[in-house]
Symmetry: C2
Subunit: 306 residues, 2 copies
């Protein structure tokens, strides 16, 4: 069973292809929607009394446990952002923590027994406090961002030795390691304690570095990209969802999980908010996972250089 701690939010997003106000968002939401196609998910988070609960019905139907999602009085976490034609870079226009400001994650008996954990992009202190409660996690992934890397570095460094896969983008890896070369940055982060580093590169795919091994998966080639919000969290959902489904954690399993992460993230970005994930089926996911063969079929090539 998977445990995710993160935000359940209302996002207002503008891209060259349209705009949405107060649409369903948040790291725990995207993660759950993706992962629940593959494995059971337990959510820990907080929403305000303004949150439209019916929006989460599709997650419940998919077997996501929402008992750990507290509802308190106040306004739900809100994020407002804008993307230009370079969909790799979001410009944050406004962040309102609201009920998230005093969020104190509480884990029930079910959550404490989780085998695989995703620590969404929240205060590393909270991430650590959650992790300390989980009894015997087999695999822990964490996300973080520039804000925590600079303002809560010490806490982040305490967290890293307990992390199996740190999931960050190029810039975050560079900032955390103080090293411009991404391969050297990944090696430095491993020295800080993380077992592996997964570098998310938006439209360029993802790179997994584990010891001396590097593995690349491109983003699935898409002719329609509408809103990249949530791609990273969906990636994490596909990644951990597959590992939970396969009960795997060796390097071969991690590689397969990277491809699954890219697969599900490629659906996320085809529509605003969670619109594409809402009705996504495992059959569709399988088909696209299979379709990854063609653009990444390097194996047959290496037979013979005359």
């Amino acid at each position: 069973m998977l445990l995710v701690v993160g935000s359940v939010a209302l996002d207002s997003v503008e891209t060259p292809f349209g705009a949405r106000d107060d649409a369903l968002g948040g790291s725990a939401t995207y993660f759950s929607a993706a992962a629940s196609l593959l494995a059971p998910v337990h959510v820990v988070g907080v929403i305000g009394d303004d949150f439209p609960l019916a929006e989460l019905d599709f997650l419940r139907r998919r077997g996501v446990h929402l008992d750990g999602l507290e509802r308190v009085s106040g306004r739900t976490f809100r994020w407002r952002g804008r993307y230009g034609y370079d969909l790799n870079a979001a410009q944050t226009l406004d962040t309102q923590l609201n009920v998230f400001e005093h969020f104190e994650p509480r884990l029930d008996a079910r959550a404490l027994a989780a085998e695989r954990v995703f620590l969404g992009n929240i205060d590393p202190e909270l991430q650590l406090r959650v992790l300390e409660q989980v009894q015997r996690p087999r695999l822990v992934c964490a996300d973080t961002m520039n804000y925590w890397i600079s303002s809560k570095r010490e806490q982040l460094l305490k967290l890293l030795p307990r992390i199996d896969v740190l999931m960050v983008n190029d810039a975050e890896a560079r900032q955390l390691a103080g090293e411009s070369n991404v391969m050297k940055a990944a090696a430095a982060i491993e020295k800080m304690g993380a077992r592996s580093v997964c570098i998310k590169r938006g439209e360029y795919g993802a790179l997994l570095v584990s010891g001396s091994e590097a593995f690349f998966a491109p983003a699935f080639p898409l002719a329609t990209v509408v809103d990249p919000t949530g791609a990273g969290d969906s990636f994490a959902g596909g990644f951990l969802g597959l590992l939970d489904r396969m009960s795997g954690s060796d390097l071969a399993a991690l590689r397969q999980a990277v491809v699954m992460g890219c697969t599900i993230a490629s659906f996320t970005v085809e529509a605003f908010s969670l619109d594409r994930l809402r009705d996504l089926t495992l059959a569709e996911v399988r088909a696209r996972f299979e379709a990854f063969r063609t653009p990444t079929d390097h194996e047959a090539l290496h037979a013979s250089i005359p």
Copy 2:
């Protein structure tokens, strides 16, 4: 036999890792140094009487034919550029065409019989004039840039139907097609007449789009990147060099050629100017080409999603 037309230049480059003044550079130079490890190359270009000819001795020793490299009175083409820590983006500080300004490519009998042609990044009018002279080319690749796309669009559109593989970066593909999505841009460029489009993405590798097929190769994971100048032209050299060596032009051969392009380009960027290419051996190239297996081994992964 390969024919390349392009610049043989003196570059002054500054990166976070050092600087060089009036070092050997130019698209035809990088291309030849890369391609000649795999196949015979004939260069068409022009240098001034200030050019240090001994700098090209290593190319001659590698079997590069330089009879088509005219030496005229005047100064050699010079480029001055700077890279920040984001080595994907060069800032051009100065371009002096010098003897290149009145360059009129002349092809001798040997050049006219070339089977594979690389039209380096020069005025599309010149590219077309060279191509019209080649008797029966089996495969033609061309590079171009933002300047030509905006100032010589009409001539470029005349060239495209004669091109097998257009090699451009993301931004150039978008500009040429007037389309922000790279997959749609590639499809649009194919409609303009190019048979395939190869999109060079610096540290993110390369993407080959040919009809409905897409193929990705990552950049080889490097812990040392010193100077990205010439990576694209070395890529083209590895790409066409392998195709010439294998006499191949089907999709499987093109894919293998993309990996070879990435392989040789990965050596280029490890040092300033052509320093790393100068003594590079085919054995080293083979070894790194083989080492590409690990980070791109997707094939074994697709066996079974439970």
